[in-house]
Structure formats: structure tokens, C-alpha cells
Symmetry: C2
Subunit: 523 residues, 2 copies
Amino acid sequence: MKVRLLTLLALLAAAALPAAPPVELKQAVRSYREGHDRQIVQELADLVSLRNVASNRADIQRNADAMLALLHRHGIEGRLLTAATRDGQTAPPAVFAEVSNPKAKRTIVFYAHYDGQPADAADWGGQDPWKPVLRTGPRGPETKDVDLANLANAPSPLPAEWRLYGRSTSDDKAPIVAVLAALDALRAAGVPPSVNIKFFFEGEEEAGSPHLKDILTAHAGLLKADCWILADGPVHQSRKLQVVFGARGVTDVEMTVYGPSHALHSGHYGNWAPNPAALLVQLLAGLRGPNGEIRIEDFYRDVRPLSESEKQAAAAMPPVEDALRKELELAWTEGDPAGTGRLQDLVMQPALNLRGLQSAQVGKGARNAIPTDASASIDFRLVPDQTPERVHELTEAHLKKQGYWIVHEEPDAATRLAHPRIVRLVWGTGYPGARTSMDLPASRAVLRAIETGWGPVLRVPMLGGSVPVYVFNETMQVPIIALPIANHDNNQHAAHENLRLQNLWDGIEVYAALFAKLQESWP
Amino acid sequence: MKVRLLTLLALLAAAALPAAPPVELKQAVRSYREGHDRQIVQELADLVSLRNVASNRADIQRNADAMLALLHRHGIEGRLLTAATRDGQTAPPAVFAEVSNPKAKRTIVFYAHYDGQPADAADWGGQDPWKPVLRTGPRGPETKDVDLANLANAPSPLPAEWRLYGRSTSDDKAPIVAVLAALDALRAAGVPPSVNIKFFFEGEEEAGSPHLKDILTAHAGLLKADCWILADGPVHQSRKLQVVFGARGVTDVEMTVYGPSHALHSGHYGNWAPNPAALLVQLLAGLRGPNGEIRIEDFYRDVRPLSESEKQAAAAMPPVEDALRKELELAWTEGDPAGTGRLQDLVMQPALNLRGLQSAQVGKGARNAIPTDASASIDFRLVPDQTPERVHELTEAHLKKQGYWIVHEEPDAATRLAHPRIVRLVWGTGYPGARTSMDLPASRAVLRAIETGWGPVLRVPMLGGSVPVYVFNETMQVPIIALPIANHDNNQHAAHENLRLQNLWDGIEVYAALFAKLQESWP
């Protein structure tokens, strides 16, 4: 399935991809990379060989030390940043380093993370997720393994469609290797970075960044900058590079409504004993319409309108919809039942996703009984300036208006006997969405630097998915812009995570361009 | 739970139960029973000792032979009725016998069944379900087992609250033993049955009666009668005897609606890719309201209005509602949200029970994805003159009107791409409801005979549960009336099936009264 989708999108992208403008520096960086591609891939493979499960303190410390050694090999002296935790320990370290240019007027922080998701060799077809494997393409009968110890025998330059498989190849060790190669390439070309660059490599992103805010706050002075560049996530499905200015936030809730205290014969009691599944479908139908419209009063009131730049950027996104619809076997899409709704437009709105329903059993297990309860699981995607707290409030107010008595624990008999309609809500935490204005000087500068130094990229006002950008926003109070490089089909968080080499090459070039051109683009 | 409910209802019943009128014959029957109670219980225990799984042909044949021997011991010569099956075999036999009175003007058929549900000793706390156990009350710490081989030492008469545990003690071998004891008691009192009695003991009721219609049709002449008395099912929850004139029919359907062909990240695609759970809740909310109201157009058009007798009978049913609501921890009931709706009134209407919901996962298993499909399982309870076929038609017409494309198999890609709204329906078969008019001469006569000969009983126009009475209705074209005797807390179809001795005693008396008084009650 996935492969078919990717094929369609890649074909579509190949047709639409404009040629990058000829830039002398870009060519210099490319030549450097072609001359050093074996070392670069080996460096990433070595880094991937270190197990880096986010929740494993020993893993993280070993990786942090390796990061310092890696920086040192590239002529950069780093240090570890931590913060006191609530239980008197210290948080897993972030790696900090700085590359200064005395003439620079601007400072950016380049963010990536060196920790990774857990992984199990059993899911990886026997491959140890931390023993990287280089393949001649995406896993399949037509691709071969390449001996990493004998890269000297490989074609030169290394073919762009080869992929390195292993945990964190793409999420998120590749940007670290790419940015160091970019600096090496600039140095080789005699072009110093035009801005001061601070590195902040987090060590617990995949554990939910529990201490990120503490570390950012504790080292606010050290991390002072004009802009953060987040190097995490994938490029667009069309394989085009994208500059991303925000992401939706998220929160979730489990809802349960109640019927009789034990299941009843639907013949003897049907029509008399309340059916909780029937209550639930009414409740849910009142929360969200079939076209995605959220029916909770005032739900859209906190939605920040899109700017002209954001609308234009969304309109310029590649037309992936027809290919997606075909691949997903959909005769229609939400938002615009005529089927012409643009994906980017719709994911910049809040969403209520009914991610699960459960009551008694369907199919072979179904029996003629009135269920005791019925549950739904919902995730909300939030956009600025919505907050999880406000969404919780509005949802509860809406349900109260529908006559529901809201509880947060399993209701006892007295509660059940006192209230005809009871809904139990178990809220997840979540976080707000974030969107850096594309009209800010920093945003314009980043785009200009990349497009003059590298070539056209997609401008994405906001990802539909959720990234806790708000932590940086709230703590650092400077523009946050993401410039991801991983292939979108990298199997992030799953088995067979991989990095397509062309994405590593593009990353090196685009980071070099950004560093070289940012000062002149930022008056 | 169940025990508490039963206690409440029993208390309520004890308070409301009127004294039976003093009738000389009733006393004679009772004296006979008190003098023979050990033999009667032993006879039931012996019958229960024969494994009788409905689907096991050897079991059924062994039980059929035992039935003939039993009848013979009571001075009645029976025979086996069968019919050719579609595959050229013969159907499992029904047992037929006849007790004639040359002066009788009316003939009734007394129906019971000797087959039973499967049972597993593991579920019965180690008791072999076909090794009956007599206990001094409902299973629990306070009751003791009584040695069936030493009943001579038991109190005389046997205590009414003792219970015999074993498969088919109540469902449905007790009525067979009761009816033979009733005839013995009448004989001992010198009172011959006033009507001709034909016995029809079915051998595959618990297998869904697949050959019942064939056997009834093949032996229509032999089975000719003025009325059928069905001796199956329980008495009212208040422990009062009830004469039942009908039962709701039933049909069921599995519904599935479709989203994307594979689950999608709810961030990246939420608001664009259709959410099947959101479609399903709209669809279901449109089928049935929270008060049980069915919103399918014309659904109520085939509902036969209740007669005055039926309304009066329903109004006279014991007020179980408050006790039930308390037991079930319900602050309200459907039909009448003020909470004053009568159970009997509501179960005489058709019902749409949402018996299951399923889409992806809720709770810990929930993930932020748009599900590929969402399913509901529904059972309909039907009343005369609705038919399953008509309900299927009306439901499909309703869904078509809502824009749904109906399929009965998993839709292929071309179908999915062609139709925005697709619902897959998998209908069960089911059967119609049945209701014998309480105003028919036969109905009046049965009630009069029981009430003059035994005492007041509840008159139930229609059970909420489903019994395939329609087979008798359609085939025999005579009034069908049920007179069940088993305690309602008999664990029918489940582990620890049991018969409360008082119910056996009541059965003997009420059957004797019916047989003695029916002729004079039927002008």
C-alpha cells in the first residue's frame, strides 16, 4: 500500500520539481560531498551503531559522549547541558556547542536530537536496529545489502537512492551528520557561516521531552538567539524540501457513557433499559459532523486567521490530493464533499478525529444484549491560539448543555441513580499548536537564504501532525522554523527506519546554503 | 447482582400475590403431589441424567427412547414423529402421544422439548451438568447438597425452595414430568381430563428447530387440535404464573462503513480523509433516537395495534419498574424519559438494540489514526405484523435515502472509488413476532380454566424476548398459548441451570386445573 502511494507521489513530484538555480557555492558543497560521501555515510553509520533508547539513561550518556567526540573531530568543542529534576537528580543531557563568526550580527540555534525510539530486532526481520545496514534501495526483493566495511568498492559518488537502515538513521541523527558535513564543506570552500550557530542536540525527545523546558530555562542566556532552526521530521511526500513554520497541537479524551449496571437481554428489556451505545452515537454526532465540522460551541473562536502569506503558501503546495484519493480508495474527502478540498488547507484547521469506538461486541461475538457502557476515543488537533485547557472546557460545557453529568472516574451507584445522562471523560494532556508568522523578518530571511543559496522549497505554514514546538515558543520567545531533511518514507518510529542518501545530500547542501546566505538575507 | 434483583422482585411479588381460590380439585392434586414428591423429583432427576445436547443425534435418540419408556410407565403409549430432510435423511424425532376422553369436544396439543443446550462441567464448578444435584436452595454458602439416593430421609413434603440443578431441569424437562404427574393426580382423584390431550415433545428446539416445520407439516392430521399449549420458558420475575399470548420476533444486522483503505495519521490527514467512525455515528443516530424511537421511515406502519384486552392485561402487570431501576442503577428509562414508562408496554413495541460498536481501539490501545472502518451490530425486536424481510427492506431504503450505497460483501477498490458513502450490511435471518388474540374463544377458555381451577395468573399479551411461535402459527393455524412453569432465575442456557421445586409443584397443579376445567370453560 505504502509503496504504491509513494510511487504515485514520487512520479508526481518528479514531474513538478523545478530545477534549482545554479549557484556556485552549491556546486562547491556538492563536490565536497561527492568527494567525502563514504566518510559521511560511515560517520552516520557509526553514530547509529550506538543504542540510543530515549528512556535508557546509560544509552543517552554514551550517545552524549559520542556527540562531544564527534563535534571535536570536526573542530568544535561542545559541552553537556542539564538541569536539576524535581527529584534532585539531573536531567539527561543536551549537547551544546557554538560556531561563532566575529562579523556575524545574527545568531541561530540549530536543533536536532540524538535519542531514538525503542526497537526490537524481531520486528526488523532479524536486523539489530543498532547495526546499520546499507541497501541499494528500499527493502525488497530487488535491493541488495552493501558491505559498509567495503564502501571503497561502491560506485562513486554513492547512488542517491541507496538507503541506510537502522534506528535513528533519519530520526534524528542524519541532520547532525549533515550539519557537520555542511560546515566542513563551507570551510573547504573558504566560506565561513554568515551567522553565529549554536547547536542544541536534545537527548530525550522520543521520551516526550520531559526536561526540555527545564534545560532551556536553566540555560536561557547561553541559548539566546534570533531564531531556532529545528532539524527534525521528514520532507514533503513529493520528496521536495520544505520549510515548516508550525504544527498543530494535540489533546485527547476517552469518553464513556453508561447503560444498565449489568448487560440485559435485549428482548426482555429492549426499549425500556437505556442503551448506552445509542446515547454515545447521539453524543458523538453532536460533537462532529460527517464533513469534519466540529459542533462544539465556540470551538473555532480561538482559531487565529491565516495570513495572506500563509494562504498563498498553502495554495502553492503540490496537488497531491487526486493521487492520495486514488491510493486510499476514497470517492470523497471531508471539508469539501465535492472532493476538491486541499489537504494543506484542511490540516491548518482544528480537527476532531474519532479514533476508536467500543461497546460490547460486533460480528461473531455479538449477542442480543443491551450493553453496560459504550466508549469513544477522540484526538483533537489544535491550531493557534487554541489550548488543550480551553478545548477541555468548551467540550465539557457543550456536553453539560446536552444534559450530561460529567465525571472523571467510574461513577458509583449513587451517581448513576441520580443522573440520567452520565459521561466519563478522561483527558490526555497534550499541548497547543504553534505557527511562526511567515512575515517575520527571521522567516523571510530563512526562506530567502535557502532559496538563493539552494533553490525553491515548499513553504508550509503548519504541519497537520503535532510537534511540541510550543515549548520553544514559550521558553525562548523567538521565531521557530523547521527545516527537515529525512525522506518521508523513512519509517519513523517503526521497524526498518531508514535514510535515503539523496536526503542526506540535500540536507548538507541546504544547511550550507542557509548558513552561508542567512546574514545577507536578514537586513 | 442477579440475586439482589431477584430478592427485590420476590419481596414485591410476595406482597402482591393474591390467594388462590379454594378449589377442591386443587387440594386433591396437591395432596397427591405431597404424597409422591420423592418419585416426581426422582423421575425428573433420572430424565436429566440423560445427556441431551440438541445437536447430538445419539443423545437425542437416547432421550426420545427414554421419553417413550416414561410415557409407557404412566400408561401412555407414544410414538416418534419424524420427516424426511433435504439430504434424504430423517429429522431427529419428536415424541407424540395422545390421551383421549371420548366425551371431549376439544383437543389441545401440549408442547415441550426434551433436548437441551450444550454444557461444560468446567463452567458448572465441576458438576457434571447431566448428574443432577438437589440443593436446599439457590447455590451459595448457606445451601447444602441433598443426597438424591436418600430422599426418604428428607423432610416431607419436600421443601418448596429446594432446587434441582442440572441441564434441562427447567428448560424443558420439568414440564414433561409435571404434565405426567398432573395426569396421575387427576386419575387418582377420579377426574379425567376434560379435553383430548396430544403431546408433542420436540427434540431439537435448542438447535433452532430446523425440522420443526417439516415434522408439523408431515403430521398435520395427527396434530390437528383446537389450541396449542406451549410449556417452555419461565414464569414472571415476581414468581407469579403467567399465561403468555405471544413473543416478539427478531432479526439482526452487522453494519460496516468505510474510510481510507489503510489507517492514516490523524494529524497529517485529519479533516481531509473521511472518518468512518464519524459516518457511522451519524448513520446510527439517524436510525434510532436516545429514547428508543426508531427513525426508519414507515418502520411502525406494520405494527398491529394492541386490543383493549391486551392493554388492560399489560396495565395489570406487577409494577417491577422501580425495583428494576434501582437494581440496574438507572436514573431513567427509555420510551418515557420521565421514568414512568411501563416495561410491559415498551416491550410490546418494536425495538432497535445497538448491541455492539467497534472501530479501531479505545483506551490504552487508542492511537492517533483515522480508522479504516467502523462497525455496528444491531438486533431488531419485531412485533406483529412486521416481518424480517420488510424490516430489511425499510432499513435499506432508509439508508439509500441517506445517500448510502449498500453492499453485502466487502467492497472492492472500484466500488469504494465510485461511492462516497458505502455501508456493508450482513443480515441475519430471524423470524416474525406472534400474538394470539386474548379475545379468541380458546384464549378466554384457557384463562378461565386456569383461573377457576388454580387461581389468578398474569396475562401477558406478548413477551419482549423472542420465541419462534410463528412456526406453529403458520403451520397449524390455531391459537398458540404459552403456560411456562420454570422459575425465572433458572439460569436457562447457562451454567447451573436449576428448577425450584415450588415451580414444579405449581406446574403440576396448573396443568391439572387446565385439563380438568378446559372443556367447561370453552362453550
